[in-house]
Symmetry: C2
Subunit: 334 residues, 2 copies
């Protein structure tokens, strides 16, 4: 769908979290990511070679991927200038922003003039059904979080990688633009019409072999007032057999909402189970995934051990220490 | 926006619930509803005069309103024939279906040829913000239900009517096509893009006088897997000060989901409070609204008394016995 390899456009990202689209591609498809392009003031750095458009084309890049998300999405004049130059130099463009490339007349004209493609991966391309709530064959695991951007996608991708290594049947199911850019398919859930949210998740995770696991990418949080409805649609459409709780222990308030504290892992466990049991009475919480990027190694290990003791569940940072123990728990209920 | 009076099109409605759009207009704007048009096989009857298109035009009808909802929305060939004739005879058309009048080439051509308007009230006409979760001045009441179609809109409209009679400051806030058709404005919530659902509800219920009440029309149910995400967005965007629990005691299973039992009123109370307290710690459940249309008068009164005793909350059927006691509860916390 989108032609690799990519030059990852980080724009003027205000912080590392804002570039999580690019970070995800860099971590999970490193062979696709041959360089990064940063504008003045950019606070994100993927550790890739900084390249001009010309340098990246010379190195073989085919697509400029907008790897930075803004709240609500926006394409500034500064960005448009760079994107226009990229089209002139022979790049396709790919974006997961709410504001669409195809809605920018200058970009449409540039793409037409130079025979290039504009990929807006956030736009649904399927007519989804209304959810029917009926049980489906196969197993499903969903990551739910105490907040947005706490590592739900990473957790599912790391579990998929570990399960593939063990030759278990497993498929990562993308529900956001990063996941779609990484895997080439999925549901851009936050852009789906409200009535069809849960149905789109049922569509994404259909009947499968009894021993096959869908690893469903989580979105938002039941506790985040801006996006909680999306999260609940994921739970009720996904009918998970297993929930993995995701948390970021250094977060001072919920993302974008100063003053609003994160819920406890206990509150997330209880509310997640309450909601998931409505569609799957046998659902279990099988593990806890903590994003410890903000902690030193010793502090991270102490924190994980404390949570594991307190909650009685395998507790790991899958990025730092691997997803093996989270997969052990899934394997135990297959 | 839409020109009254209306001829209400009931199509081939399979049951009374399917015609709830028309029923709502007939009950809350009876002066707008001068007749009904039913096709062979129609199982709904509003008790209005059955009229042909010609008879309704002669009686002064300006708009043919599609008053029947189908699951997911559909415009059949049979319907299109009637709608095309209506345009020829000088009707505007208004619809809240997912499938749009404007997407039907024959209807667009007919409207253009005869100078008539096509109103698709389900389509959002505002660019809504992402919710910020910040407190707003004024008070808000939200009806939540054990299921879809249990009387949430009726409850809010009946409370608004009662509050107007008492000269309290109150505004019904429509979140669905019927409410929008009745009041001429609102948010077609189930057609809003997922990420903007909660923000659209914040937009609909802005800062207001400290003693002003928004009566927010509920949608779906936290317990209905097809639509629960929409309900949670209403709770988190609406930041209700008061919740009214709505229930229909003769319902054998959740609407559209055979085999799935309705939750108890206790479960609805507890989960509703858990969710609403995240955005408004002072929220209270102020009353219970029961749709007793399926019960005889004595059985209805017995049922209401039993629930009131069990739950310790004013319990009424606002359609049958008035919304006075529900409004008394609100007045007590103003």
């Amino acid at each position: 769908m989108i032609t690799p390899p990519y030059l990852l456009f980080l724009g003027d990202a205000p912080d590392r979290l804002a570039a999580k689209v690019a970070q995800g591609i860099r971590d999970w498809r490193p062979d696709y990511a041959i360089g990064q392009l940063r504008l003045p003031g950019c606070k994100a750095d993927l550790g890739l070679a900084d390249m001009t458009l010309e340098e990246a084309r010379a190195a073989g890049a085919e697509t400029l991927v907008i790897g930075v998300a803004n709240r609500g999405g926006v394409i500034s004049e500064t960005w448009k200038e760079v994107l226009g130059q990229a089209l002139e130099l022979g790049f396709d463009l790919a974006s997961g922003l709410h504001n669409l490339l195809r809605d920018e007349p200058a970009l449409v004209a540039g793409a037409n003039a130079h025979g290039r493609a504009l990929h807006d991966v956030r736009i649904p391309v399927v007519k989804y059904p209304i959810a029917n709530g009926e049980p489906r064959s196969g197993k499903r695991c969903l990551a739910i979080g105490t907040d947005c951007s706490v590592g739900k996608m990473y957790t599912a991708l790391a579990m998929e990688r570990e399960m593939a290594a063990r030759e278990m049947k497993a498929t990562f199911r993308a529900t956001g633009q990063t996941g779609i850019l990484i895997t080439g398919g999925g549901v851009p859930l936050d852009a789906v019409i409200a009535d069809f949210m849960a149905g789109s998740v049922e569509w994404l995770t259909p009947d499968n072999d009894a021993d096959h696991w869908d690893l469903i990418e989580g979105q938002g949080s039941l506790f985040h007032p801006s996006y909680s409805g999306v999260t609940l649609a994921l739970i009720h459409g996904g009918q998970p057999d297993a929930l993995v709780l995701c948390h970021e222990p250094t977060r001072e308030h919920m993302r974008g909402l100063p003053g609003r504290a994160l819920p406890s892992l206990e509150a997330l466990r209880d509310l997640g189970l309450t909601m998931a049991q409505m569609v799957n009475p046998d659902v279990q919480v099988t593990g806890i995934s903590v994003n410890t990027a903000g902690l030193e190694e010793a502090a991270a290990r102490d924190y994980l051990a404390e949570v594991e003791e307190r909650m009685g569940l395998p507790t790991v940072d899958p990025y730092r220490h691997g997803a093996g123990r989270l997969v052990d728990s899934l394997a135990a209920i297959t």
